[in-house]
């Protein structure tokens, strides 16, 4: 049996679901960031799989994945800087306690 588009899409859906579970159920802000990274990777797998297994004529899907990776890396840099700042100001990175915008 050959591996086709469906196998890659199912794998990517499962990875996205695991990341979503991490985002929804974790208490630590860094763990939530890790979940977001897993979800971004699932999206990239989708881009590349569609580019590989559908009748297209250029690498647009892979180029979109390049831009998605760029945005993901910028996002994690900002996220870690924010977590560090919040920890410095409030001595906690529990997202359940961070319900007050006025420090």
């Amino acid at each position: 049996m050959t591996i086709g588009l469906n196998h890659c899409l199912l794998l990517s859906a499962a990875l996205f679901a695991i990341g979503l579970y991490g985002v929804l159920s974790k208490r630590n802000i860094i763990a939530v960031l890790m979940g977001v990274e897993l979800m971004l990777n699932a999206v990239n797998i989708n881009f590349v799989a569609f580019n590989r297994f559908t009748p297209v004529s250029d690498l647009t899907g892979q180029l979109m994945a390049v831009f998605a990776i760029t945005v993901g890396v910028a996002e994690v840099a900002i996220g870690v800087a924010l977590a560090y700042r919040i920890y410095n100001d409030r001595q906690t990175i529990n997202v359940d306690e961070l319900d007050n915008m006025k420090g």
């Binding site: 929804l24 159920s25 763990a31």
Partner: protein
Amino acid sequence: MSEMLGTLVFYAVAFVILATALGVVTSKNLVHSALLMTACFIGVGVLFIWLSADFLGAMEFMLYSGGVAILVVMGVMLTKRQDGPPGNPFNHRKITALGLVILFVLVMSTVIVSTPVPSGSYVSADTVDALADMMLNKYILAFEIAATLLLAALVGAIILAKGDGEA
């Protein structure tokens, strides 16, 4: 024979990706989560190479399993509590989240299985040349915007981490 080998490689890589991703979510120690996340990114990079996207695979190795992993480990170390290893607890919405995620998987797999797959495939002989050509001709505006975004993110991260007036 080589087709069977390809199938085998796909299932092995898929197993590694899903097992390490589950480990990231369920591990009790945040440092173990970060290491498993690196392994997951390496698996995704291998999958990209398997999908004949070799440039993206190299990019995934360098940026995600290199850069992002180090950033996250730094974040874990900088925000650690004094007592014991950095924990990774669940919040009180664990069951609701699990239900939502199972619903998501059911809906997505139904959609994927019931949608007809377009036949055909595309393999580029040289992904680096093709990507560079597209990036600097047709998609030059998106390329410049991405460069500006990276600059803004870099400056913003420094300002956020050092604080107003200190930077």
